[in-house]
């Protein structure tokens, strides 16, 4: 088994972004481990804050992430009906550390979202803990640190970052 290289991680993250842009959320969900977390802290918190005692925008365990995906695929998820169009750029991918079965990665993201004639930009840094098994990469932790101050003017994270 060869070691995971940055290019492998990039391929994986570009694939993730593509699934999200195509709204193939159930497939995207399969990229996560069964004990995965997906978090977006408020912008006035330190980057390593815990969701157990700080208010975040999003702090999903794997169960709630699954419910988020279910919700977003329904007509009654009004904020995303009809689905917005998104375009994600993932860059500056770096391997920050590694263990036997995990790779810690950071990447910057810029996500454009268009709906009803308005285009908004979400940007920041995503920190991943990737789990590697038999050369298959899966996401154990994904934490999106929003750049900018607060969520203005877009006002919501109705898509997945």
């Amino acid at each position: 088994m060869r070691a995971i290289e940055r290019s492998d991680v990039e391929d994986f993250l570009f694939h993730e972004a593509d699934l999200l842009d195509q709204w193939r959320l159930p497939e995207w969900l399969e990229l996560f481990t069964d004990d995965a977390t997906y978090e977006v802290p408020c912008t006035d918190l330190p980057p390593d804050a815990s969701a157990d005692n700080n208010l975040f925008y999003i702090a999903d365990d794997r169960f709630r992430l699954g419910e988020r995906v279910k919700r977003l695929m329904k007509r009654t998820a009004h904020a995303e009906f009809p689905h917005s169009k998104t375009s994600r750029i993932v860059g500056n991918v770096r391997i920050r550390g590694r263990n036997e079965h995990t790779v810690d990665v950071s990447a910057v993201f810029q996500t454009f979202r268009t709906k009803d004639g308005t285009t908004d930009l979400y940007f920041g840094t995503s920190n991943y803990r990737l789990k590697v098994d038999d050369n298959r990469i899966r996401i154990g932790e994904k934490r999106c640190l929003l750049g900018g101050e607060g969520l203005r003017p877009h006002g919501r994270i109705s898509i997945v970052l």
Binding site: C42, A49, N53, L55, F56, A59, E67, D116, G155, R156
Partner: protein
């Protein structure tokens, strides 16, 4: 400023159960301008919570109704609300969002102020008149009025406004119910949700006290709740009511299926959760007796304090305030409150609960924002389709939580401030 009152802003006829609100109120730039002066300049406005400044020297800087405010706890422990502008040449003195400081130095010319706003020193002191430093005009200016109620801190730009405690009127009882959850005090939990909605601010007022929209706007959230609660049975009984609390304040109080960290258990919290919730509930019974304990523990409250503060005591405890930036754009800040003596288990579930429903990444708030933005778009037709209807429940002696009494309370007050009844001339009075 005199607002255009050729056309009524609201149409009310109790006999026919008519209550209509002109859609122009949400779109007209003249109304937007007039509101600044007639509503926001003449109300008590939420500034922050005392728990945000636990130690002397703690500060936060904040924008309230367009003003730059420096909220401090001075060296003696007194809370201060200062206008964040240098008395010398006007620069914002504090440019950090929060922190702890012994003093504040304006970086423009180097004047230094205490956390009480008093001028301590300025470069080239010898070139100023004797006693310059002791002049009141050399200090940072305090906000005209600053008062607190049970750690909720408010400011007003109207020197002559009534006392906060009188202004709160019937809302006081509900703030008490919320604060009585614990005898250890409540604190703001770290992390501020700062977001916006491309809609008129009054749409969020309405939405925050609207028990009618939940089943359709939040259908997908209730689907989710079905998976985490015992089939929506818990606490559902009894429904609830809406109340006009005077001075434009309103509340809805009702039972609901979600878990409440104080103190309604749901199966998803397991047996250890049940023990903790029982302990909290028993403690409330001991302090207040069963009746009030039940009300504190099992009833939900969406409390609105005129004109722009919402305190939700629902699946979590939230504080939300919002300000218009334009007729069709508002900015919102929201915080979570929690009891100071809360266990780490309960704190975790409180926050977990909060994020499920609330906030820009929750399962409900984005759909509210979508609804409000689509109202705003619908109001583009206001020249032809002129009126909103908020008459639901008008004929009832006791309107339900999903009627629209709460909104009528807000609009009645708003209308009275915006379009005060013409004063009779002396001639008429004499006659």
């Amino acid at each position: 400023m005199q607002t255009d009152n050729r056309q009524p802003a609201i149409l009310v006829d109790p006999a026919q159960q008519i209550f209509k609100v002109a859609r122009r109120n949400f779109t007209d730039p003249e109304i937007f301008k007039a509101e600044k002066e007639l509503v926001f300049e003449r109300s008590w406005l939420y500034l922050g919570h005392a728990s945000e400044l636990p130690k002397p020297g703690d500060f936060v800087s904040r924008t309230v109704a367009g003003r730059s405010i420096l909220f401090t706890r001075d060296s003696k422990g007194t809370l201060r609300a200062l206008l964040n502008t240098c008395p010398h040449r006007g620069a914002q003195v504090c440019r950090e969002r929060k922190g702890n400081a012994k003093s504040f130095q304006c970086f423009y010319h180097g004047w230094v102020f205490g956390a009480d706003g008093k001028l301590r020193s300025q470069p080239g002191e010898e070139a100023y008149a004797e006693g310059f430093k002791n002049r009141e005009s050399s200090n940072m200016q305090a906000v005209p009025r600053f008062e607190t109620y049970r750690d909720f801190c408010f400011i007003s730009f109207d020197r002559n406004i009534v006392l906060l405690v009188d202004y709160l009127a019937g809302a006081k009882e509900y703030l008490d119910l919320i604060c009585d959850q614990t005898d250890a005090g409540l604190s703001i939990i770290a992390g501020t949700q700062e977001y916006s909605i491309r809609a008129n601010w009054k749409l969020l007022t309405e939405n925050s006290i609207d028990g009618y929209h939940a089943t359709t706007t939040h259908a997908s959230y209730f689907d989710y709740l079905m998976n985490t609660t015992d089939g929506l049975a818990t606490g559902m009984g009894g429904g609830g009511y809406g109340y006009d609390l005077d001075n434009g304040h309103a509340v809805l109080e009702y039972g609901a299926p979600w878990g409440r960290p104080v103190a309604q258990w749901i199966p998803a919290w397991g047996d250890s959760g049940k023990q903790e919730i029982t302990r909290l509930y028993d403690n409330l019974v001991q302090r207040f007796g069963k009746e009030r304990a039940d009300r504190i523990a099992c009833k939900n409250r969406n409390l609105f304090i005129f004109p722009n503060l919402v305190v939700n005591d629902i699946m979590a405890l939230t504080v939300r305030t919002y300000f218009p930036m334009a007729a069709d754009y508002m900015v919102i800040s929201a915080w979570a409150l929690g009891p100071n003596d809360e266990t780490s288990w309960a704190r975790k579930y409180r926050l977990n609960n909060f994020l499920e429903f609330l906030g820009p990444g929750g399962f409900a708030t984005p759909d509210d924002a979508e609804a409000l933005e689509h109202c705003q778009r619908g109001f583009n037709n206001a020249k032809e389709a002129q009126w909103n209807d908020i008459s639901k429940g008008m004929g009832k002696e006791r309107p339900a939580y999903n009627d629209e009494l709460q909104m009528r309370a807000f609009w009645t007050r708003w209308n009275a401030m915006m379009f005060p009844a013409p004063v009779s001339s002396i001639k008429n009075v004499a006659a």
